[in-house]
Symmetry: C2
Subunit: 334 residues, 2 copies
Amino acid sequence: MKPTIKDVAKIASVSISTVSRVMNAPDTVVENKKKRVLDAIEELKYKPNALARGLIYKKTHTLGVVIPDIRNPYYADIIRGMEDASKKSGYSLIICNTDTDGNRLFSYLNTFYEKQIDGLLYTSNPIFPDYYKELKRLRMPVVLVATHSMEYELPSVKINDEQAAYDATQFLIDSGHRNIGMISFDLGDSIAGQTRYQGFVRALRENNLELKRDNIFFVSEYFHDPYDAAESLFRQSSGLTAVFAVSDVLAMGVLSYLNEKGVAVPNEVSVVGFDNIRLSAFTVPKLTTVAQPMYQIGYRAVEKLHALINGEADPVLREIVPHEIVVRASTGRL
Amino acid sequence: MKPTIKDVAKIASVSISTVSRVMNAPDTVVENKKKRVLDAIEELKYKPNALARGLIYKKTHTLGVVIPDIRNPYYADIIRGMEDASKKSGYSLIICNTDTDGNRLFSYLNTFYEKQIDGLLYTSNPIFPDYYKELKRLRMPVVLVATHSMEYELPSVKINDEQAAYDATQFLIDSGHRNIGMISFDLGDSIAGQTRYQGFVRALRENNLELKRDNIFFVSEYFHDPYDAAESLFRQSSGLTAVFAVSDVLAMGVLSYLNEKGVAVPNEVSVVGFDNIRLSAFTVPKLTTVAQPMYQIGYRAVEKLHALINGEADPVLREIVPHEIVVRASTGRL
């Protein structure tokens, strides 16, 4: 049987309202009582029923969104999806930009807590242990968006990044390319770095193609200059007939660089991007890319969070949405 | 002498704390008292000293940002500037997206009011009388960002849009172009529509060039398909050697369309954009554009709001920041 708030109160030798206060307004509870309650919660693996939470806590019909970098056009459509789903369910959406900075994230989580949001949409970045601890401490219902966690039992919506990168690479191989370059995110990024790199490597391996270290250029942060990344890749490698860039913005840098150098796309070099941001349909030439269903990711995330807040069961904890290779004019057969 | 809260209380025959409550939590004051207070405020032209406000109201060190369309990459750098200035002054920034929808704006203003933000950054859209009335009712310090109001005494930061469009057009004329097309926002948009159109028209007039109605295509909303806008312009006009598009995204549509039709840029047609969003440096060819100092606009807006919240004098109510023509590869001499 699932433990209840009563069980927690009993084990901690406090009243039910004290348990509630520990979850709701922990600063109002003296340290030793708080510790007993948190220990009891831990011991019983108690998870407050979200419906009960709703009865205890005043709902504000506001959801908080944390995004790591508002300059990334990738978030525009995700937020649109979130907005539309929020409107449907009667929520307002307030958005904060963390700049991928842990301190700012903590500060914003606390702002959200003070503003009494009903739940949190956490996008793109990995969940580190201290982040998880803080989310748990604030007792904030959370859905991970375009990220997920294998360590923690947190609901999430994203594509299969490894498979998506594999498919992009396989598409180039099927078009006759054998010497393929990659512009990759840093491997320290477990969400979009490691995964897409692994997909690329797997496609080469399954096709018995050699993995040349010089064919891969790693950008250390999302806003690495895309033109410079392209230049670095072509300086360190030789004879590339195709490039797979892990974001459309990076792919635009490749198109710009190749145009500058008088290299014809796709006649001499094919280029594939990732995301399918709106502007990728207006590049010269139009960009072939791995489309993420950004709008759908945002929409589903709010639906999941809404269900969580209302204590409804969600059948899939780590939800994977489909990606798709959108073929435009920047790729050709070799 | 400036009227004080005492004067308002005296004229309205209520206590000072009632006046304060009318400004702070108007719903807690009975209607006839509230009316007397508001009438007295009106009669005396009383403006609560923001410092006094700070003493009366609990500060939350949170600023609210209202943006009309998060898909527009133009806001990315504005928000970056706001973020940095906010960090410096110890504010958190919460952002809402209104979709240029008046009802959503009202809903978000009330969300912000409930969340007790210290001040509001209102971007891009005109201030309509009912918006102004609501802002006044909520007694929310506000700075207009990339928009302004001639009707109301509200502080603002923006460029001179008319002059910026004039300069872009004059730049094309100086390069030998005589038959120049324009993709314009709707003239109902008094901020970026009317103004830029007027600047374009003035440049033609001062150079004794004919204004051909068919040379201008109006997009009705920001997210009009840029490729389609370009196609429409070239279908209705003839012999254009240059196009001035009022956003970089629209200019990207022109580049994409011309490339598709095999028209060389800039050899056959020159293209000028507006904004200088980050991606305009990676278009093919790189885009000549009217640069707005977006980061600075965001930064200055927060500084102005901070001064307002703290009751400091701000010497310039309607602040104009400089624009600049950034010449890249999409334009040439005829």
